[in-house]
């Protein structure tokens, strides 16, 4: 007989092309194939997303992995478990006001750098990359970190800063409009980290393991689909989620993310990535305490799914 359609409530932290595989999975019917119906809500901000999950307002949350560490550091009876990775690098780009021909990170020294706000993954990854390239973000340059995520682009456009760390599609828009030039990718520089991950409560994974598996399988299908198809096809597939963005722009962005392998190729969140994340957090002084991979990550499901 036909299996009953199961409804899964997903809370995403923001609506972004960065999460393209998720939209592909919905649009291309991968969830449906698994007998899942997705009820997707945007709950802007990691706190709201996590609150929705914790208070049973959502079954699955798509949010930065660091949030699960923050939560678990404060102790929780029913911990939040990462079970399927969606993106595996940082998603921001370094945009310069002036055209730079032979860019080297040293050029940042002495400049004014408009970074992301403190405490969030983009800021931590940003500082990590700067340090990795031999720049002390608090001494070698003027670091502006006081602006809300949604307003950073405005601040840069109205004249603040020489360099800015921007998300897509803003970075591409700026390049297109001649307001700035993308000169480096923080994603490429940061290496693989669990950036955005699907999470659920431990109890959910235990009680509805097969549902979680179906969910992960759908995600995995979408991940493969994205890499098997052109950026143009992906852009077309997800366009209905970004009604007011040019198809061309979506394509550019998808292409950029695909090239630097920001979209995870499979849902497995391995130990190395996990530790990389914790290192970055530690460097930024935001890691409340080190938490082992197996206590917050469930790789079984993902492994199960990818095996077949």
């Amino acid at each position: 007989g036909k299996e009953e359609v199961q409804k899964i409530r997903v809370a995403e932290v923001t609506r972004s092309i960065f999460y393209a595989p998720q939209y592909v999975a919905i649009e291309k019917g991968f969830f449906k194939e698994e007998g899942l119906e997705i009820d997707l809500k945007t709950t802007p901000g990691g706190d709201k997303t996590m609150t929705a999950l914790l208070s049973n307002g959502a079954d699955v949350a798509l949010v930065g992995s660091e949030t699960s560490i923050y939560v678990s550091a404060q102790g929780s009876k029913d911990p939040v478990i990462n079970f399927a990775q969606l993106t595996q690098t940082d998603g921001t780009f370094l945009v310069s006001r002036n055209k730079v021909d032979n860019f080297s990170w040293d050029q940042l020294k002495g400049s004014t750098f408009l970074g992301q706000r403190k405490g969030g993954m983009p800021q931590m990854a940003g500082e990590f990359v700067l340090k990795k390239n031999g720049i002390d973000p608090h001494n070698d340059l003027t670091l502006i970190q006081n602006i809300d995520y949604a307003n950073i682009a405005t601040a840069f456009a109205s004249g603040t800063g020489d360099y800015v760390q921007l998300f897509e599609p803003t970075a591409s828009v700026f390049e297109k409009e001649g307001k700035g030039h993308i000169i480096a990718s923080f994603g490429t520089e940061s290496g693989h980290i669990p950036y955005t991950t699907f999470m659920a409560k431990e109890s959910f994974l235990k009680d509805k393991q097969d549902t979680a598996e179906k969910f992960t399988r759908a995600v995995y299908k979408a991940q493969k689909w994205v890499y098997e198809h052109s950026a143009e096809e992906t852009a077309k597939a997800i366009q209905s989620f970004f009604p007011d963005t040019d198809l061309e722009l979506i394509e550019t962005v998808v292409d950029r993310y695909k090239k630097q392998e920001s979209f995870a190729k499979n849902p497995i969140l391995d130990k190395e990535e996990w530790n990389n994340l914790q290192n970055i957090m530690e460097d930024a002084g935001e890691l409340p305490k080190r938490i082992s991979h197996d206590s917050l990550v469930n790789t079984e499901i993902a492994q199960q799914v990818t095996k077949k």
């Binding site: 923001t14 945007t42 307002g57 949604a150 109205s158 009604p243």
Partner: protein
């Protein structure tokens, strides 16, 4: 005598005409301000006095609006937000007035609660988002609650103040007829405060919009607030400003409705 009464009729006609004339002047000025504002905006955007990327321009916004009207999507967004706002507005106003009535009813309660009202009033309601999500779930109800919460305390304070300022002699008149405190409230306090309540209503129309939009910032997949947040996300300021303009239009419509209500209800103000 006949000629006299027609003379008066004539004067009366003149009087009414002068009222109409004044209204026409007011409308003209308003239109002028409207036209001036939008043409200056368009111009300074075209001539790049302001950054067209951030400030967009009226023509771009209209263009965007037209495509959204064609595909019909804008109506869903408007529908959601308007519905939420109306509910939030009604809830906020009713419960605010009710609270004010309770405070008026019991001077002790009002004295005791006074500082707590202040504190609640000073709470940045936006920060209550997570608590709302826990209490009401990430959905519709949270948004409506935000629309109500943002106006309820201010309504309570303003309406209660006006309740207290009613000349106590009106109550005395009723008390001599053996009226209970409830009757006094219904016959003297409440109608005496209608002008204030209506003017609070007018303020609340605005606040409810703010509340619902902020609510849609918290959780949503539809609505004008969602469009704003999304517009920021994809750096499409035409979308943001279009949504703001639509909000302005609908807020004005709601305001006009409240004014209409005002004219209907406060009959005695027919000066």
């Amino acid at each position: 005598m006949k000629s006299k009464s027609t003379h008066i009729e004539q004067l009366h006609k003149q009087y009414i005409e002068s009222l109409i004339r004044e209204k026409r002047i007011v409308r003209t000025y308003q239109l002028f301000i409207f036209a001036f504002f939008f043409s200056v905006w368009e111009l300074s955007s075209r001539l790049e006095w302001v950054d067209p990327l951030i400030f967009s321009s009226p023509s771009k916004i209209i263009e965007l609006l037209l495509t959204k009207i064609q595909d019909g999507s804008i109506f869903t967004h408007i529908g959601y937000t308007v519905f939420e706002t109306i509910l939030g507005f009604i809830l906020g106003t009713l419960s605010g007035t009710l609270l004010a009535a309770i405070l008026w009813w019991s001077p002790l309660v009002s004295k005791v609660l006074d500082p707590y009202l202040v504190i609640l009033n000073a709470m940045p309601k936006v920060a209550l988002g997570p608590i709302l999500i826990v209490a009401l779930g990430p959905g519709f109800t949270s948004i409506i609650a935000m629309g109500a919460i943002i106006s309820v305390i201010i309504t309570t304070i303003v309406v209660y103040t006006s309740f207290r300022e009613v000349d106590p002699n009106y109550m005395k008149v009723l008390q001599t007829f053996g009226a209970s405190r409830f009757v006094c409230f219904k016959e003297a306090i409440l109608p005496a405060c209608f002008p204030t309540i209506i003017s609070t209503l007018k303020v609340n129309v605005g606040l409810s919009w703010v509340g619902v939009i902020v609510g849609e910032f918290l959780v949503s997949q539809q609505g004008l607030g969602y469009l704003i947040i999304y517009g920021f996300q994809v750096f499409n300021f035409s979308l943001v400003l279009m949504s703001l303009l639509i909000i302005a239009v609908f807020a004005t419509i709601m305001y006009q409705l409240v004014e209409y209500l005002e004219r209907k209800m406060i009959k005695s103000s027919n000066q």
